[in-house]
């Protein structure tokens, strides 16, 4: 590996926001759209969210049932593996803690796979979606989530790269083992911590 790239000086450490993980840049007010499937049209009146698998009480919530639960807000940053970060966003939704308290993961539960109506999946250690770290989000910066950004509802796990925050999410399968999801089977890291630059398998 080259020690440095001839002629590249970068933008200087002084200007670098400490909220940016290594290798990320600030996309400002832009919110890029990335996904591997056609953008679905999902009607909130037929949308549901299910927690199933290794739980005591498999449970499905409708849109109205979900909105009757206590709302919870995330204010902070999001980080995409393609190297953009967007700082200072605000999302509102329902904490997964609230949903898992109802479904009650069994003692041997260790991981979850989030799934979307498109067939998209992503895997997460159970520990990464409890204790106020994960949401089913409905709004971003005060407006309903657009279709492009996963509306009407997406998973939000902002401390991991954003492919873990499954768009058009329709449920969680609780498992007693790890099971790679869509991007994780296609070369991306199983956990995806941006502060450790866990971008690809082997990082």
């Amino acid at each position: 590996m080259a020690k440095f790239t001839r002629g590249f000086t970068g933008r200087g450490k002084a200007a670098r926001d400490p909220r940016l993980p290594p290798g990320q840049y600030d996309t400002g007010t832009q919110w890029p759209v990335l996904s591997a499937e056609a953008t679905p049209k999902i009607d909130p009146t037929t949308w549901t969210f299910t927690v199933e698998g290794h739980v005591e009480q498999p449970t499905t919530w409708t849109w109205d049932e979900m909105h009757a639960l206590p709302a919870s807000t995330y204010a902070g940053d999001i980080h995409c593996v393609t190297t953009w970060s967007r700082l200072g966003m605000e999302f509102e939704g329902v904490s997964l803690d609230t949903l898992l308290a109802v479904a009650q993961p069994r003692a041997d539960a260790s991981h979850v796979v989030a799934f979307s109506s498109t067939g998209y999946t992503t895997n997460l250690p159970l520990a990464d979606v409890v204790d106020g770290k994960a949401w089913v989000a409905f709004t971003a910066d005060g407006a309903p989530l657009s279709r492009d950004h996963g509306g009407p509802a997406r998973l939000l796990v902002p401390h991991l790269y954003f492919w873990k925050s499954a768009k058009w999410v329709s449920g969680l399968r609780v498992l007693d083992h790890d099971e790679p999801g869509f991007w994780e089977r296609n070369g991306y890291h199983d956990r995806g911590d941006p502060w450790l630059e866990q971008r690809y398998q082997g990082d």
Binding site: P22, L34, T118, D148
Partner: protein, 236 residues
């Protein structure tokens, strides 16, 4: 093949359009890529600061050590500005890849390729692979490429795409003189002559382009699982 770091040497640079260049890189080992995959380019400053961006490979898999990356110059783009204005033949770059195991095609099963603007790049690797393995023009029952660009000045790889039986160029804002199809967005009438029941469909471009194509495919009754999408956000 896992994504590994390579030292790459720039062996050629040429202009595709006024804002886009293709870099030819020689890696320290065979690239091992499939058509549709991308590489990360990482720039490192003397103080250790790094900036990385992903670029699709435009060249087809050929077993060799060289790859071509096509890079659009984005206003205020930290990496693309360096690659356009500073990088010279002979320079070394750190690159990582190949990356992406989903949006790939091996030119053995039928495919329809739909690209918008810079979304053409990974599809060009696919078309070039098909031509290399099945002859040129590639047979209609194997592949057809439709590419949508704003104006004639925005078309990459023009010499390989204009007036070819296996490729159709659509202009949305301005056409070349005497062009039969008026300027306009991709419609069902553009797609239908090339659509076959046995094709996988690869769609690559901006979010507005890929969303419009996605809606078009739904309207044509195409099962969502037949289509794979790669959306390009701004990548400065």
């Amino acid at each position: 093949m896992p994504a590994v770091w390579h030292s790459a040497t720039v062996v050629a640079v040429h202009d595709e359009t006024s804002r886009t260049k293709t870099l030819r890189l020689r890696l320290d080992a065979p690239s091992g890529h499939q058509a549709g995959q991308h590489f990360v380019v990482r720039l490192t400053a003397p103080d250790g600061y790094t900036a990385s961006r992903s670029y699709s490979v435009a060249s087809p898999p050929d077993g060799g050590n060289e790859i071509e990356l096509t890079v659009e110059h984005l206003d205020d783009g930290e990496v693309s500005t360096f690659l356009h204005d500073v990088l010279e033949v002979g320079d070394e770059l750190d690159v990582r890849g190949p990356i992406g195991g989903f949006f790939v095609w091996d030119a053995t099963t039928p495919a329809l390729l739909l690209g918008g603007g810079s979304g053409l790049v990974p599809l060009m690797a696919m078309l070039r692979l098909a031509r290399a393995t099945a002859g040129e023009p590639a047979p209609a029952e194997l592949v057809h490429l439709l590419v949508s660009v704003r104006t004639p000045d925005d078309l990459y790889y023009m010499d390989e795409l204009r007036d070819r039986a296996d490729a159709t160029v659509l202009y949305t804002r301005a056409t070349p003189p005497g062009w039969a199809r008026p300027a306009g967005r991709l419609t069902a009438d553009d797609v239908l002559p090339h659509l076959r029941d046995d094709q996988a469909i690869f769609v690559c471009g901006s979010a507005p382009f890929t969303n419009a194509v996605g809606d078009l495919l739904v309207d044509l009754g195409i099962a969502p699982e037949r289509a794979k999408f790669e959306r390009f956000g701004p990548s400065a």
